[in-house]
Amino acid sequence: MVTRRPPVLVVDDDDDILDVYSVVLEDAGYEVMTARNGQEALERLRRPEGPNASLILLDVMMPVMNAWEFLARRIEDPKLRNIPVVLCTGDPRAFGGTPEGVAAVLQKPLGLDTLLEAIRRYAA
């Protein structure tokens, strides 16, 4: 019997981006959860019955709760701090390297190969 891998959580404030990620990742065999900001992402991850995530694909600039605040909350939570995070941003150089607790930083716009390679490499 094949063990089911936990889903990939995609966090972005753009609905079409969420839709496109869902289609392409599901097509590649991943289960996908979506959230529109950091707050929604925390709620998703903390649902007692909900599946844990194998990876978090995180947009940086979002309303309500942005990536930085989300990352700070994640570090405080022992159940979340080991889920790998891949940041998607327009300007990776703005951070001066990979921020602490982040597995990789991808530059938008990104192609399908880059996306799938990052997920294959970092997903728990």
Partner: protein, 587 residues
């Protein structure tokens, strides 16, 4: 030694003293007056210069035999209007002899002056230079009346000639002054050029101005309806308190009465030979400050406008304790102020240019950021489509195609906004009005958003019962509605959005209301400014210039736009457009 015996040698000494160099003028007169008082046996000897506007006598220097020791005084001013008989008595006499100062009609108006000093007799000699009366040498005998002897008057006349020589020597050195002033201006120019930013220039200007142009200098500039003090400086410690008071008094309304304000309103230099405390009191200067002015002995003031490229941007004020400003001082002050105004203007232009470049960089950064999201959707979709078609997963193909369509529209809107913003930045936002139905336009734009709002799960309620007719630019107005809807979708927290268009008084009102978080604080007008510091993300919705573009397009139509937090949550943006007549037409 009798007066007579002293006279010969003293006159020689006086003539010698009178020939001293100009920069020793004060020392010369000081020595002359002391010897003069000794020889004549009077308690007070002073030299007063005659001024024309207003007609007055100003004490250049007075020697007073007092306890514990002699002292010098200066700065007192007698206005002709206060004692006209005295002024007319001085005209046309070689010597004005008053043996009994008490009750003499020629001293009418000076009773208080005479009583306070217990003056018994007066011997005054007009001082002439090149045939023109320039001042008066005054002798005041304290106590009882005194009959002046012929020797007394002759000696007094001789002293007046000595003072005249000293004055002539001072006049001769004015050519040298001209040269010194040219050097002063050139050095000022070099100093100012090294100063940056604007506040630094103002500080350099006021410190540099003293003592050449006055004991106190300050610089004010217009800022909207206010006049702001940029810098003030006093070289002498006894004037510090006054400068601090001046600091505390500003800003003042542009309409306030003050020397700098006069120069700014009249666009010309103002010379106040006698600082008139009554005028200042009328102007609303507080009593404690008037007292400071009186105590500081500041008696004369010059105000010159800061003028550049045909505009008056502020003024510099110079005030002085003892000196009498003349037209040469005014010219120097004018030239000085011109150097300062040009430097301030250059610094301001440089700062504006730097801010504009910064804004452009920020604009490009935001533009590239905003373009990346739709590009990501398009890139991923393009990469995935072929595989999905091969796998016959047409449901996914349909989902991606819909996303591609929406994101392509979004890209088009972003590109339009970039173009609008760049035209606004270049001052080339053209408005081409034509007869349109705004209600129809809003319905069309809202229709184009249908896919997007449905996808976001947002209820877009359009209340646009038409027609709402007027002459507006259809393309620009479409951009206005697009920008407002973009913002509402982005910040509306997926709650309903209400759009309304209504005709009113020949114009139209467009409202867009969301039910999101609203502004974190009251937005005010600056939400429409392009690239504010400490940005509120809402203002940067879409391309970060959405509201700015809306504001500029609406303003170009002669309309107004306002934004505020709505009661019950969310944000309302209200656009008021005038009808056809008020719109500004541009090719």
């Amino acid at each position: 030694m009798s007066h007579g015996e002293m006279k010969g040698s003293t006159v020689a000494a006086l003539l010698q003293l009178g020939a001293r160099a100009k920069d020793a003028w004060e020392d010369t007169v000081q020595d002359v007056l002391r010897i003069d008082a000794d020889v004549l046996g009077v308690e007070r000897a002073s030299y007063w210069s005659l001024r024309e506007t207003p007609p007055s006598l100003a004490c250049e220097l007075g020697y007073v035999v007092a306890r514990p020791g002699p002292l010098f005084e200066r700065g007192l001013v007698l206005l002709e209007r206060d004692c006209p008989a005295y002024f007319s008595a001085l005209r046309g006499v070689r010597v004005l002899e008053i043996a009994d100062a008490g009750g003499d009609p020629r001293l009418a108006g000076l009773e208080d002056y005479i009583a306070r000093r217990a003056i018994g007799a007066i011997l005054d000699v007009p001082v002439f230079v090149a045939g023109r009366q320039v001042g008066v040498l005054c002798h005041e005998h304290v106590g009882s009346p005194r009959a002046w002897s012929e020797r007394d008057t002759e000696f007094a006349l001789a002293v007046s000639h000595a003072i005249a020589s000293a004055l002539e020597a001072r006049a001769r050195s004015q050519a040298e002054d001209q040269e010194r002033r040219a050097v002063f201006l050139a050095e000022t120019s070099a100093l100012l050029a090294e100063s940056f930013p604007g506040d630094r220039v103002a500080l350099t200007a006021v410190t540099r101005a003293t003592p050449t142009l006055g004991d106190i200098a300050f610089l004010v500039e217009s800022e909207g309806d206010l006049v702001q003090l940029r810098a003030a400086f006093a070289r002498r410690p006894e004037h510090q308190a006054l400068v601090e008071k001046i600091h505390r008094r500003y800003p003042v309304p542009a309409s306030a009465v003050h020397l700098g304000g006069e120069a700014m309103r009249e666009h010309q230099s103002v010379l106040m030979p006698v600082i008139d405390l009554a005028w200042l009191r009328e102007a609303g200067i507080p009593e404690d400050e008037l007292r400071l002015i009186a105590e500081s002995n500041v008696r004369n003031g010059i105000a010159v406008p800061l003028r550049v490229r045909g505009r008056v941007t502020g003024a510099m004020v110079f005030a002085s304790e003892g000196r009498e400003y003349d037209s040469a001082d005014l010219r120097l002050a004018d030239a000085f102020a011109h150097e300062v105004a040009v430097t301030l203007d250059n610094v301001r232009l440089y700062e504006q240019m730097r801010a504009a470049i910064g804004a452009r960089d920020e604009f490009l950064r935001m533009a590239s950021h905003e373009l990346r999201t739709p590009l990501t959707a398009l890139t991923l979709s393009a990469d995935a489509l072929a595989g999905l078609v091969d796998a016959h997963d047409f449901e996914s193909v349909a989902r991606l195609s819909a996303a591609i369509g929406r994101q392509a529209k979004r890209l088009a809107r972003l590109v339009n906004r970039m173009l609008d913003a760049s035209q606004i930045g270049a001052g080339e936002l053209g408005i081409q009005p034509e007869e349109i139905d705004l209600a129809q336009l809003v319905r069309d734009v809202a229709g184009a958003f249908a896919g997007e709002v449905r996808r976001a799960g947002v209820d877009l309620v359009v209340d646009a019962e038409g027609p709402v007719l007027g002459r507006w630019d259809p393309i620009r107005m479409e951009h206005v509605v697009n920008n407002l809807l973009d913002n509402a979708v982005k910040f509306g927290a997926h709650r309903p959005i209400d759009v309304g268009v209504h005709a009113h008084g020949g114009g139209a009102t467009l409202t867009v209301r969301d039910h999101g978080e609203g502004f974190s604080r009251h937005p005010g007008d600056d939400v429409f400014r392009r690239f504010r510091g400490g940005l509120d993300e809402r203002a940067f919705g879409g391309l970060g210039v959405g509201l700015h573009v809306v504001h500029e397009i609406v303003a170009a139509h002669g309309g107004k736009v306002s934004a505020h937090n709505a009661e019950g949550g969310g944000t309302v943006v209200v656009v008021d457009l005038p009808g056809a007549d008020a719109s500004r037409r541009e090719a």
